[in-house]
Symmetry: C2
Subunit: 142 residues, 2 copies
């Protein structure tokens, strides 16, 4: 029987986060002591590890919900899990491509900064005038 604190330490998840996962139905409601404190078993520890590891690989909580569901039904065909992972891979590759373009632009900005006054600063100039950019980078928030 594990307390929430033990689970927290074993998985590197904050206590509040574990309770949050329970609240949104990602973790099942655990047993309780007479006094009302949560007690977990090893199955629940495994489940939380799965969740955390998936988060580290960038899966959204919704995707994890699906993956957990698939994991709970070992006889179903696994192409769905595969599809989710492929989707995630694609997203990661898109993000990388975008970051690469940003890096190019930032490098150029920093490189061309003369170190003089802000009035002549290449960094600020580029920010002011998108046409000085070599790449397009329309989407915000990646």
């Amino acid at each position: 029987m594990l307390t929430i604190g033990t689970l927290s330490k074993k998985t590197g998840t904050k206590v509040q986060t574990i309770r949050y996962y329970e609240q949104i139905g990602l973790m099942p409601e655990p047993g309780r002591t007479e006094g009302g404190q949560r007690r977990y078993d090893n199955a629940q520890l495994d489940r939380l590890s799965f969740i955390r590891h998936s988060r580290q690989l960038g899966f959204s909580l919704d995707a994890i919900r699906e993956l957990l569901d698939l994991s709970d039904h070992p006889n179903r065909p696994c192409h769905e899990a595969d599809a989710i992972a492929r989707r995630q891979l694609k997203q990661v590759e898109q993000r990388m491509a975008r970051l690469k373009a940003l890096r190019t632009e930032l490098k150029r900005m920093v490189h061309e900064c003369s170190g003089g006054r802000t009035g002549d600063c290449k960094v600020l100039e580029v920010l002011r005038d998108h046409s000085e950019c070599l790449t397009e980078h329309e989407e915000i928030g990646v």
Copy 2:
């Protein structure tokens, strides 16, 4: 004199977002018509373009606040702007490194999926057992 809708179209910023920027003090309070509608001038259009372009390059609203401040004072030395850009560059590079590791792992997962039942699915297996990973990827949320 530009309406908020015109500003929105010209910069690709949603109307609500412009009002939000005003609310948090990133955009100045514009003039108003008698009826109370916002009217902007070209200086404000430039400012919004600066903000949006900076967002596209991944700067946080706080960083943009600093950059705008520097941009407003052309006689100051520009090493601060340079430092902010370098910081951003560093962050982008860190994210890229992390994404690269994730990509490796995801590729391997997807590649090893046999296409059978979920019970034997490599994707789910890897998620279950971190020790099957080649790389460490501890941080969440990049």
